[in-house]
Symmetry: C2
Subunit: 407 residues, 2 copies
């Protein structure tokens, strides 16, 4: 017997038949002797439908009202799920965010959970019932409905698993689990059985779409195993858990690519203290988030250098305007931009103990004639900026080079 939290996404509850199927799965898990709490997203398309209504009224609706509006999507899902269970003769109770004791801060549309006291959920579980909780939503201290932002239902599920002291949290989705890379890009992509929180965090940050960062972070902070599985297919999925000796001994766990950044280079700036910080403070004042930053060595002895950084593609035009406007003040020769770039990354906690991983990466790219523009590394990842047109080729080359298709 285990205490389980199961989360099903919008595509898993997109219509009444799917809701029935999900209800059957939850009941089956309960009948196996488990304590089962279910967290649901809105039926697929519902959140977008509601957002569209709001945006038709005004491009910038008040966020408090938007939260109250879109939170109805999850409310409908959990009510229908409970009704589907009742139709099967099962006792079940649904809970909205506030009923499940999910207290958040005041940041509508991207609220963070401050406290979670699922007393009512516990009471139902103790009676042998299934509890179903609306994902994505909570309530703030003023008693207003809040929503948790992207991946919010995953966050609800993991946070609830922690608060209920569950054995693990199951995230049911429309893929089989976490893959070594995007199967749409590389046909040799292989499902990973176990992955560490740290690796999953890096993969999520670097473009893997299955799990949002927040819920993985939450799992990591509280040591809650997260089990990613397909909602409507059998298969063991992927367990996201603490790094442990049972994990495959491999230097690289996965390969990702992103094409949502652009690079900006300020040429021939003075190579003296404070220059980089002056440049970057202009950017950050505009709430633009800089990802990679590279300052080349001084050019010979002339005391000048080039400074490159990447920003989200959506902020590229604005960044270029800022840099052109500030070029003279910064004493730069020019402000160059390139939005035709991609970032390919390899991630793995095994890197720590394997020498030569970077060398293998650079060789694999070089062998395909791919030039590397920028490089950043952390303890468990290496990212390279390359020309966008080589992105998929680079992913396949790296997947081969590290033999990720082999278990």
């Amino acid at each position: 017997m285990a205490r389980i939290v199961q989360k099903y996404g919008g595509s898993s509850v997109a219509n009444l038949n799917l809701i029935r199927e999900v209800a059957r799965k939850a009941v089956a898990a309960r009948n196996q002797g488990n304590e089962v709490t279910v967290v649901l997203s809105a039926m697929k398309g519902e959140t977008d439908r509601l957002l569209k209504l709001a945006k038709e009224l005004t491009p910038s609706p008040p966020l408090r009202e938007l939260d109250s509006l879109i939170s109805t999507g999850e409310q409908v899902s959990v009510s229908l799920f409970a009704i589907a269970c009742a139709a099967m003769g099962e006792k079940v109770k649904s809970f909205l965010g506030f009923q499940a004791g999910i207290l958040t801060d005041d940041h509508h549309q991207k609220a963070r959970i401050l406290k979670l006291d699922p007393a009512r959920v516990k009471t139902e579980l103790a009676k042998g019932r299934i509890a179903v909780v609306a994902g994505f939503q909570g309530i703030n201290r003023q008693g207003d409905v809040s929503t948790l932002g992207r991946g919010g239902s995953d966050t609800t599920a993991v946070a609830l698993a922690v608060a209920l002291n569950a054995d693990h949290c199951e995230i049911y989705t429309d893929v089989d689990g976490i893959y070594t890379t995007d199967p749409n890009v590389c046909s040799k992509a292989r499902k990973i059985d176990r992955i560490s929180y740290e690796e999953m965090l890096e993969l999520s940050s670097l473009g893997a779409k299955v799990m949002e960062i927040r819920s993985v972070e939450l799992g990591m902070n509280y040591g809650m195993p997260i089990h990613v599985r397909h909602a409507h297919s059998p298969g063991d999925g992927t367990v996201i858990t603490k790094e442990d000796p049972n994990m495959e001994k491999t230097p690289v766990r996965g390969v990702t690519h992103q094409i949502n950044e652009a690079r900006v280079t300020l040429t021939k700036v003075r190579d003296e203290p404070g220059v980089a910080s002056r440049i970057l403070s202009i950017i950050s004042k505009s709430d633009i988030i800089v990802d990679m930053i590279i300052q080349n060595r001084s050019r010979g002895e002339d005391g000048f250098t080039d400074l490159s950084f990447t920003v989200p593609l959506s902020d590229y035009e604005r960044t270029m305007e800022l840099m052109r406007a500030a070029r003279e003040e910064l004493g730069a020769e020019g402000a160059l931009g390139d939005d035709d770039i991609a970032k390919v990354s390899i991630v793995g906690v095994g890197m720590r103990n394997h020498a030569g991983v970077a060398a293998t990466m650079f060789q694999a790219l070089a062998a395909e004639g791919i030039n590397i523009d920028m490089i950043t590394t952390s303890e468990i990842k290496i990212s390279c900026v390359i020309q966008k047109k080589y992105a998929e080729l680079a992913v396949r080359a790296l997947h081969d080079a590290f033999e990720l298709d082999k278990a």
Copy 2:
């Protein structure tokens, strides 16, 4: 300056354009210096859509879950209304039932308001803002969402008007006001300017559809004037208020008809104490509500009588089965039924002071060759059961006989 509660029904907020129009009306009222609280129903069709989903899962969904499901309809309406106001540059805040302090009992689907403490609504009004409250819903002591049943949004509006100590409550609907009779039946039907609570209650009980009984009762109990108006047309509507000397001096205020009852007659039962109560206790044990009851005088000297009563058409078959089964025990000769009946009624507080109203009614029906099967009266109404096919003719004849087309 007045303190006003405005309630708009589902057809008044059926789409974004109508929601915008309703928002403009509320803002206009506020700009005239009034304190305005708005109560909304779900967008037309939304409650039915949600109910249909539930009923597809099971014919008898758990009522707690059904309440949580259908209450989203009003939640969507008030959020969109608030967003529409914001789009016009207005400050407004939406409130769900629990946020408006509407505490109800535990009877899901037909909850009654136990307490109403709209502290947050008052705070917003005091800031000069418009408050918009989800109709039809509240929260019970367990913290579960409840709904108030038919006409629930009207009840919310009147109860809120009472709790806010408002000057009056405006019910915006898709008709001009209360009519002397159904304009679809009688082209001479005339809008009534002022009507007493008592008369409105009787008219509602006897088939008038504009106002539900509960909200009128609530208005009566607390002396809250209710102003029924068309949502999207000008015109003064109808004020439901205390009986006062300014009301038109007329014995009859309105005529209604209902075709939702059937008559059951037990023939030749003993005319002795206890017979009627034995019959009716069989009915009431099955939760069937009896409306009219007529016991004829004894037939000559034989000590037998006939007992007739009416029940809702939906309970007719069941009632006949019960009576056939109990016929022998009750010592009745036969159990006859007739579902081909209609009830026509005249209502008016002026009846109290006018002799001959009943005589005029019976003469008017007789003049059209309409036979009267049963009659019941109260201080302010007279109802007659007639053959169903004469219902509309009877309404027109009575409307003419009491000259209701004349102000």
